[in-house]
C-alpha cells in the first residue's frame, strides 16, 4: 500500500473511514483500533482525535459510512443506468460481484452478531436492499408474492454465498462467478 507523504497532514475524516472499512473487511472489527489505523495511514495517533472523539464514535461513523457506500451509493449508481429493470438487476449483481462488496458485509455481519448498534444498521441495510430489488422485480411485471420471493432469492444468495464460503463452499474463479451471475439472473427474471 503506497501512502504518499503529502497526504499525511491533509487526512480528512473520510480517509480515516476508508482505512477503517478496509481494515474491518480484512481483519475484522477487533482490528479497527486507533493506533493500528494511524500506523496504516502513516500518521500519529493524535491526529485521530481531531476527527473523532473516541473509538466508539469512529465505529458509529464507520457503520454510517458502510451503509452509505455499500447500499445507498450502489443503488444510486444502478438507478442512473439506462435500461430495463431486468438489465438494472444484472448490472447490480455484476457490480456486487466485481467489486467484491461482500467482503465488507461479511465483517459487518460478524460484528453485528454480538453488537447491538451494528445489528441495527445491518437490519436496516438488509431491508433497504431487499426493498430495492423487490421494486425491480415489480417493475418487471411480477406479481407481489413472486417479486417478494425472487428478490429474496437474489439477495440471500449474495449473503449466503459469503456465509457458506467461510468454511466450505468455494466462491469460484471470477469467470465462473460471472457465469453464475448470468445463470442466476436468467433463472430469476425469465417467465
Amino acid at each position: 500500500m503506497e501512502k504518499p507523504a503529502v497526504r499525511r497532514d491533509r487526512l480528512g475524516t473520510y480517509d480515516w473511514l476508508i482505512e477503517a472499512l478496509e481494515t474491518l473487511g480484512r481483519e475484522g472489527i477487533g482490528a479497527v483500533r486507533v493506533e493500528r489505523l494511524a500506523r496504516y495511514l502513516g500518521v500519529t495517533k493524535g491526529s485521530f482525535y481531531w476527527h473523532f472523539k473516541d473509538r466508539p464514535e469512529l465505529l458509529d461513523r464507520l457503520l454510517e459510512h458502510w451503509e452509505t457506500e455499500m447500499t445507498d451509493k450502489i443503488h444510486a449508481h444502478v438507478s442512473h443506468l439506462d435500461g430495463k429493470p431486468a438489465e438494472q438487476l444484472l448490472a447490480l449483481l455484476k457490480h456486487i460481484d466485481k467489486q467484491d462488496l461482500n467482503r465488507y458485509d461479511a465483517a459487518v455481519r460478524a460484528w453485528a452478531l454480538y453488537d447491538k448498534r451494528a445489528a441495527t444498521v445491518v437490519t436496516r441495510v438488509d431491508a433497504k436492499r431487499l426493498e430495492y430489488v423487490h421494486t425491480l422485480f415489480l417493475e418487471m411485471g411480477f406479481p407481489a408474492e413472486e417479486a417478494h420471493i425472487r428478490s429474496r432469492m437474489s439477495y440471500y444468495y449474495v449473503v449466503g454465498e459469503y456465509t457458506a464460503s467461510i468454511s466450505s463452499i468455494e466462491k469460484g474463479a471470477p469467470e465462473q462467478r460471472v457465469e453464475h451471475v448470468r445463470l442466476r439472473h436468467r433463472l430469476l427474471t425469465e417467465r
Binding site: 437490519t123 449466503g160 467461510i166 468454511s167 466450505s168 453464475h180
Partner: protein, 189 residues
C-alpha cells in the same frame, strides 16, 4: 448401574443442547462450564460426570451437530416420489424443523477452528450431493443443477443470517414458490 445410566444420558444431551443454544447466542466463546451449569440449574461438578473438560464438550458438540445434520440428509434420501416431489419435501422439512438454526454460528466457529470446519464441510457435501443428484434426475444439465444447488443452500444460509424471520407458515409458502422457480423446466413436470 442401569438405573443410574438413563438419567445421566439424558443430562448429557441437555448439556449439548444448552451448549448449542449458547453457541447461537454468543459464539463458541460463550460456551463455558460455569454459565452453562447455572443455566441448567445444576452444579459445575455434574458436568465432569459427562465430559472430561470444556474441550471434550466442544468435540462432542461438533459430533452432535454433525450426526443430526447428516441424519436429516440420510432420512431425505429414502423419501419416495419423483425427484421434483422429493426436493419439495426436503425443502419443507428444512424449514419446518428450522434446520439452519445453528448454521451461522457453526460457520463462524468453523472460520477459526479446523475441527468445526471439517464438520461443516462434511455436512455441506452430504447436503449438496443430495440436491445435485435430484436436479440431475430432473433432467437439468450439470451447470444448471449446480447453480440451482447453490441458490438453494445460499438461500437457506442467507435466511438464517437474518435475525427477523417470517412465521413458519409463511416460510413454507415461500418454499413452494422457490421450489417452483428452481424446478421449472424439469422433466415430468
Amino acid at each position: 448401574m442401569t438405573q443410574a445410566t438413563k438419567p445421566a444420558k439424558l443430562r448429557r444431551s441437555e448439556w449439548l443442547s444448552a451448549s448449542l443454544e449458547a453457541l447461537v447466542r454468543e459464539g463458541v466463546e460463550g460456551i463455558h462450564v460455569e454459565p452453562l451449569a447455572k443455566r441448567l440449574g445444576v452444579t459445575k461438578g455434574s458436568f465432569y460426570w459427562h465430559f472430561q473438560d470444556r474441550q471434550a464438550l466442544l468435540k462432542s458438540l461438533i459430533e452432535h451437530w454433525t450426526t443430526r445434520m447428516i441424519g436429516a440428509v440420510r432420512a431425505c434420501e429414502t423419501k419416495t416420489g419423483s425427484a421434483r416431489e422429493r426436493l419439495l419435501k426436503i425443502m419443507e422439512a428444512i424449514t419446518r424443523e428450522d434446520r439452519t438454526r445453528y448454521e451461522v454460528a457453526m460457520r463462524m466457529w468453523a472460520a477459526a477452528d479446523e475441527r468445526a470446519a471439517k464438520a461443516v464441510r462434511r455436512v455441506d457435501e452430504a447436503r449438496i450431493g443430495l440436491h445435485f443428484s435430484l436436479f440431475l434426475e430432473m433432467g437439468f444439465a450439470p451447470e444448471q443443477a449446480e447453480i440451482r444447488c447453490r441458490m438453494m443452500v445460499f438461500y437457506e444460509y442467507g435466511e438464517a443470517e437474518f435475525a427477523i424471520k417470517a412465521p413458519v407458515e409463511k416460510r413454507l409458502e415461500y418454499v413452494r414458490l422457490r421450489h417452483a422457480i428452481l424446478t421449472e423446466g424439469a422433466h415430468g413436470e
